[in-house]
């Protein structure tokens, strides 16, 4: 979900782009962080931990914590909170 009205800020998102998340087509805005587009689309689980398969979500937003690592266009361990969304990206959970 996205903020519709705000007393101080005016959001000027980039153009709408579509991407594939876990095989499903979704929409987000060009150049926003991949993880932000996913949260806006209602996706909270970004990956599962390796050993105990615990769900992992967005946590720090500045590339420090590793909680948002995902597979993007086949490349694993992409920090999706500081990687920009592009048209046609293929985004997958990793575990």
């Amino acid at each position: 979900m996205r903020i519709q009205e705000h007393p101080i800020l005016h959001f000027k998102p980039g153009k709408k782009v579509s991407f594939i998340f876990e095989g499903k087509k979704m929409e987000g805005y060009l150049d926003e962080p991949i993880a932000a587009a996913l949260v806006a689309a209602g996706i909270k689980v970004l990956s599962y931990s390796r050993k105990l398969k615990r769900p992992r979500g967005f946590f720090c937003a500045i590339g420090n914590c590793s909680s948002c690592l995902m597979k993007v266009n086949g490349i694993p361990n992409v920090r999706t909170c500081i990687t920009r969304l592009e048209e046609g990206m293929i985004i997958e959970r990793q575990c």
Partner: protein
């Protein structure tokens, strides 16, 4: 290998101030930042700053960032490298930087002086299920809402009633998100009363001597149990309350992000008043190594206002150490130090001043 007079690592308030100040001393500068855009935490701060006009009082953080970015675009001697992480500084004076898509390109540059302004990372708190999606650091919530206009959740428990907890709670309300309560483990509210009063006027409870015990949920946060604690921070049985929330926002402090300084071999000290390990430094922000300066939260957790002044001091003096004296060097250096004293001339800053004394070489 490309050489620079000064490389500034970190494009937040301290790094921006350091880079612009050093640029005015005619140093050629590279500013490296790992974020998508410059500004650090400023770009998510919608509140107006306190202090005096010299420290941007009355201006919103986000506008301060834009002013800096605008200023830099007019300074031809600053090169910018965003989405790039400085990973190490070596004996031969080489700084390594990871660039490109997911950091898959390594580049090497050589600075004559290095200013480290890497800021801080958010502290975690131990509680049951603290790894569930829906548990966020306060900075992340600010980024989602204030930079990208994305709603992190519908109902939030804020943990921590320091300035960050209070300010972010108010920002959540501005974004139309419900804040169920603020819990604070200490017996009193740590942040400024002006922020706390705003929250209380809107009917949001602030529970002191209270913390969260457990988060419940399968794939994501579904509810939270909060519990009162005694003087020794033990849970008081029977005082548990359950709140229906989908988001936990942690505002339980920050720690200096000092890995580069450790790696480079600066003399470090654990100083509780500055919230962790910091590099020891002289009054002009020079570390135990002559070519490395520090500024901002990496030098001790404080506020953006003082971070910017520290940045100015580091920038001015790093340039001066190369013989690049600003035409008003003495005047400016005195003025910056005076501003820092003013900013720290209050009760809250007493412990910071004590910490800085311990950290001074």
């Amino acid at each position: 290998m490309k050489e620079y007079d000064i490389i500034v690592v970190g494009g937040g308030p301290a790094g921006l101030a350091a880079a612009t100040t050093a640029a005015k001393c005619n140093a050629n500068i590279l500013l490296v930042d790992d974020g998508l855009q410059l500004g650090g935490q400023l770009i998510k701060q919608t509140h107006k700053f306190f202090g005096s006009t010299e420290q941007f009082a009355g201006i919103r953080g986000i506008d301060i960032a834009h002013n800096f970015i605008d200023e830099i675009s007019h300074l031809s001697n600053i090169e910018i490298l965003t989405q790039s992480t400085a990973t190490g500084f070596f004996e031969d004076g080489v700084l390594t930087i990871l660039e490109g898509y997911n950091g898959n390109r390594l580049s090497k540059v050589k600075p004559r002086r290095l200013i480290i302004a890497t800021g801080a990372s958010e502290n975690m708190l131990s509680f049951i299920n603290n790894d569930l999606p829906g548990v966020y650091g306060a900075g992340a919530v600010q980024t989602l809402m204030n930079v990208y206009g994305v709603i992190p959740g519908r109902a939030v428990l804020m943990v921590g009633a320091g300035n960050i907890g209070l300010i972010v709670s108010y920002q959540l309300l501005q974004a139309g998100i419900e804040v169920k309560a603020i819990v604070e483990a200490l017996p009193c509210i740590g942040g400024y009363w002006v922020h706390a009063s705003k929250i209380r006027r809107l009917g949001i409870p602030i529970y002191t001597r209270c913390t969260l015990k457990e988060v419940k949920g399968k794939e994501e946060v579904e509810s939270v149990t909060i519990c009162n604690i005694d003087d020794k921070f033990n849970f008081i049985p029977g005082s548990e309350r359950e709140l229906s929330v989908d988001t936990i926002c942690l505002a339980v402090g920050l720690s200096p992000l000092a890995e580069l300084l450790w790696q480079a071999g600066c003399e470090m000290a654990y100083i509780p008043e500055l919230c962790g390990y910091v590099a020891k430094r002289d009054e002009n922000m020079k570390t135990s190594l002559d070519h490395i300066y520090i500024a901002g939260d990496v030098a001790g957790i404080e506020e953006a206002s003082s971070a910017m002044v520290e940045g100015q001091i580091a920038g001015l003096n790093a340039a001066a150490s190369l013989g690049l004296y600003h035409e008003k060097y003495r005047e400016l250096n005195l003025a910056f130090h005076r501003q820092l004293l003013q900013l720290r001339h209050n009760e809250v800053s007493e412990s910071i001043t004590r910490g800085i004394k311990k950290a001074t070489l």
